[in-house]
Point group: C2
Chain length 479, copies 2
Amino acid sequence: MATRHPLTMTTLNPNIKKMAYAVRGPVVTRACEIEDELRKGLKKPFDAVVKADIGDAHAMGQTPITFIRQVLALVNYPPLLNEPLFPADAKQRARAILGACKAGSVGAYTESAGIELIRRHVADYIERRDGIPSDWRNIVLTTGGSEAIRSVLRLLLSGAGDDPVGVMVPVPMFPLYSVTLTEYGMHRVDYYPDEDNDWALDVSELERAAREARKICALRAIVVINPGNPTGQVLTRGNIEEIIRFAHREKLFVLADEVYQQNVYGDGVPFVSFKKALSGMPCRDDVQIASFMSCSKGYAGECGARGGYVELINVSSEVMAEYLKSVVVNMCPAVSGQACLEAIVNPPAAGEPSFESYREEKARVLASLELKARMVTDALSSVEGFSCNSIRGAMYAFPRLRLPPKAAEAAAERGLEPDTFYAFRLLEETGLCVVPGNNFGQKPGTYHFRMTILPSPGDLHAMLRRLASFHAEFMRTYS
Amino acid sequence: MATRHPLTMTTLNPNIKKMAYAVRGPVVTRACEIEDELRKGLKKPFDAVVKADIGDAHAMGQTPITFIRQVLALVNYPPLLNEPLFPADAKQRARAILGACKAGSVGAYTESAGIELIRRHVADYIERRDGIPSDWRNIVLTTGGSEAIRSVLRLLLSGAGDDPVGVMVPVPMFPLYSVTLTEYGMHRVDYYPDEDNDWALDVSELERAAREARKICALRAIVVINPGNPTGQVLTRGNIEEIIRFAHREKLFVLADEVYQQNVYGDGVPFVSFKKALSGMPCRDDVQIASFMSCSKGYAGECGARGGYVELINVSSEVMAEYLKSVVVNMCPAVSGQACLEAIVNPPAAGEPSFESYREEKARVLASLELKARMVTDALSSVEGFSCNSIRGAMYAFPRLRLPPKAAEAAAERGLEPDTFYAFRLLEETGLCVVPGNNFGQKPGTYHFRMTILPSPGDLHAMLRRLASFHAEFMRTYS
């Protein structure tokens, strides 16, 4: 085959070959196979696989917010505007969206940056969030948060023959960053948030990473994920200010991944956006930030809609024009995602007919996530051999495992990382699917896994018990 | 500003600076300004701008197919499944889609390659179209056809330090190709379909282009757009076979842009897919093809849904696995686009309740496009100084203009290409917005413009009359 075809494993884009996409890695693949085996009647020590591997709220049973879905149904099928089935506020939003679409159809292309009305409402949402102005012309709607992140990283690429551009990324990190840097041929510069200090960012560690990176690449940007994925931390305003001062000194573009801004739990640290922190600092005009948001997280959890936005701060109008030019290649963001975003940033207001039910549904989702964040934190902290920071935000736990040398040897015999070996054993013996820490990156010699807090409290309870007894047995076997 | 910011016009990705996106170029920008001026009450020699610049059917008043929108409303808001408002077949499709979504919600991520059920139905559609087998595992659903095209071109990129990869593209072409090749740093290898022979592809011209390209790049692929955009041709099976033999000899990957496969008019040349043509040839196992399709064109015209697919032919399972890995970066295609595609490839069948109305709506759209294709062909052919091939497919006319030297001089004084100057004058004097031929590429020394056939017959009629009298006046001025 190889010789007669132009596209083979030999000629394939080498950067694609290097890409490893960790969120859907081999453990998840095996989990899907086990689900098939269960369907075929194979006997297992469990009845069902519990997928705690991905932040996919609806897949884990979270119900959609009614108002959002009403708006989506109405814009897709406008004859429903005449039906008494739907409340007036959902109809109002749908009419406004349709009025902003060409010839009143969501089937028309929108502007490449998204519908102006929705960009304006995103700016209003940001102003309410931060208490400072937001200019809708700096906001670009995208087909999901991932596309937004990739489109901004693309702006930073260097030309052929120039030094490779370096981007600082937290380790552990959401794997989209590592895989995109690999695809783009950018230099990945790891920095390590301090696990022993609730994953805070220590400026001396940022400086170490930057110093080493400058020897081998043109360092240009830093990614910060807040609230943290997979780490679940929420950065304090003081810590954010330190990071901004560091970025200012080092002249780095800041990619602020703030897609979990609505997922903050307890009465601990509140979410503060990088933009808001910057606004109070002397360097307020000098640091460039891209802040990312998504429909997939928060209380909506609408992953399938593929809605997201980026707000660019302190980027010149000339560069903004180039950015807008570059996003035209996708024609326009999916209109479903844009409409979903509109329903999120412009929800029912007090006095509107859906207000009470919307508020109640939203509160129920957030209360459930908060309860589960506490359940998981408590359960994992009480297992001997685990340590786990409190889950203050996002939707994941990232506990650290202290694995005995024999477990590492058993893993090595199978050609696996110790925590991958652990995750495979956990899956085979309990049906619980988590993602090994090495898929997100971790400090050398440390082992972790990421699990979501999304299963129902009942499932989560059973799962955490199975995990504790599996762990005890695993430690007995390999001690 | 420049010195204190990391992202400036100086540091911006140079390939993005080089990108020029032609479908939405300066003439379209000016058309939008004129619309604003009209709204503000400025006097113009016309009442409204007619946008004949982009293949955006709904924007030009084409109504959506009811069945498609019913399915979309139902999947977004499943309580509607209990309402008598909707026919049983739309409900059946919606239930099937929801049944294939995790936990029955379109808000969950789907597989990165799209929902298996829909991939299977796409394969069924292709089998019905071609009469030969299609394997659903070779089909990947995408967020629109553009994403599909870009994701396949990405597979062909070479590594740093290797020879740049060359891709043959027709001139004129859909500008997505030129802009993506620029962004990816690939080498664009122009070939010229024969305007004097209904835009047929002459193999000696392909060979010329390939021979010249091989001196300066690693030639790896050829793009063919059939039915043609902007040229409106439909290639004969014999011509397609010649192109395939050429690709085989030269070992080129074939990107078959077949998004207009449902837009073929008259009783002239029928649409034959590259896959079908290949299936009858001795090299049937040796030529690799990617065939692209979209929800945005055809009779659906659902541009905003962002649905599309690619079928890969003769690509090894190893390379397919790499491709699937590479598309994970976008998490999953927009589910609205996937559901829209399902309604297109699995429409109401004879005996189902929506069958008659669906067939009638589809026939009405296609008959209207056919009528308008003929109207435009006839009108443009009768203007002195224009020549225009028959519009046999797609939704565009691409007439050739014979412009006098004085017009070229007047254009040069303004720093414009002659056909850009013409398009600007046409816009300012008649309100008719078309895209200059140079945005698509054209043989040196020839001038064209692209106009869509999408305005209503009434608008089109008025528009073609205004165009004819504008042209006569323009020729008088510059002769």
